[in-house]
Amino acid sequence: MAEDHNDLFKKSQEFLQMLSQQKDFIHDLLRENERLRYQVASLQNSSGDQTQLAMELEHLRHRLEQIEREKKELREAYQRVEDENKDFAQRYVEIEDQNNNLANLYVASYQLHSTLDFQEVVHIVMEIIINLIGAEVFSIMLLDEKTNELGVIAHEGYDEGITFPAIRIAEGVIGEVSKTGEPYYINQASEDYRVDFLHPIACIPLKIKENVIGVINIHKLLVQKDAFTAVDYELFSLLAAHAATAIFSSKLYSQSERKLTTIQGFLDLLTTPASKG
């Protein structure tokens, strides 16, 4: 009986121990469960963040593309403005040149028609050739209608003692210019060029309509001037017409003045009562 009792006690002890172990095991399970739940929840949260991050990345990528496009557009616009600026700068230089040309032409034209004195007109033509064209050695020739030859009426810069030949129409470069009425230019004389009266670097006809009344020969430019410029050709055109008119008008005026003086002399002679004698 006592043995059965002991046995039962022992078994109950074992059972209690087993229950206690089971209780610990269940506790462990619950803790593990709680830990796993927490991890699942964390993982779920983490997954949400990544999705949001991905969306933000996508948004940023779009924004970046948009900014790239805007940058490209701005760069193109900047390039266009820069090109326009260059055009404006170029245009400004051109307008400045035109201004300069117009000033030269205006002054030349104004001065040429400022007087009817033949010598003064010739002097003004010379001033224009020196100061506005920049010639160092040059001459002005007029056509003598009686002999049909060109003779020098004014010159500058030639060696002392030079004799200027009379040029016949169609004779050489100068004669050909006076025949055709077309100007002749060598834009840049060769380095070994020496002043040779019959071979100027420029010969400009002085024309009244189609009639050539003379020529301007340029044999050498000033040391600081390498070649003719665009404004020089404009000045040549102006000189061809305006200088010719000014020279011709002043010459006619001088002649008429002389004739008037002569006629006045005759009239005075005729109207003066004969001296009593």
Binding site: N100, A103, N104, V107, N131, L132, L222, V223, Q224
Partner: protein, 126 residues
């Protein structure tokens, strides 16, 4: 640079007119003209000017003598002077600048270049 007063010394009426024409780009400027060095010195005694622009080759008194005399005079010694001449050789340029000219321009002149040079001198002189 408004209201500047220039003395243009030139025996050539064509050049006087051309230079004056170019200077009129300075708003309200006043231009006094002289035909040679002596005439210029007389004008400097009676007129107040801000700058002298002078040719070299002139009758009576040339531009180099004028530059020298302007620099010797207490009243005018600091006056900016620009030489505008057909003499384009380096030794002429050096001589003009050594005498005290502030700038040396060879003819034929470019209006824009003349205005630029004047602008630079005025800027430098404050």
């Amino acid at each position: 640079m408004d209201g500047l007063r220039f003395l243009v010394v030139e025996d050539s009426p064509t050049m006087r007119q051309l230079i004056s024409f170019s200077l009129k780009r300075f708003k309200g400027c006043r231009i006094v003209e002289a035909v040679d060095g002596v005439d210029a010195l007389k004008k400097l005694q009676t007129e107040e000017v801000d700058m002298v622009l002078t040719d070299i080759n002139m009758p009576v008194m040339d531009g180099l003598k004028l530059v020298s005399l302007v620099r010797q005079n207490v009243k005018t010694k600091d006056l900016p002077i620009v030489i505008i001449t057909t003499e384009g050789a380096q030794e002429d340029r050096d001589r003009g600048l050594a005498l005290g000219a502030n700038a040396y321009i060879s003819k034929p002149i470019q209006s824009s270049h003349l205005l630029k040079v004047i602008g630079e001198i005025l800027e430098k002189n404050g």
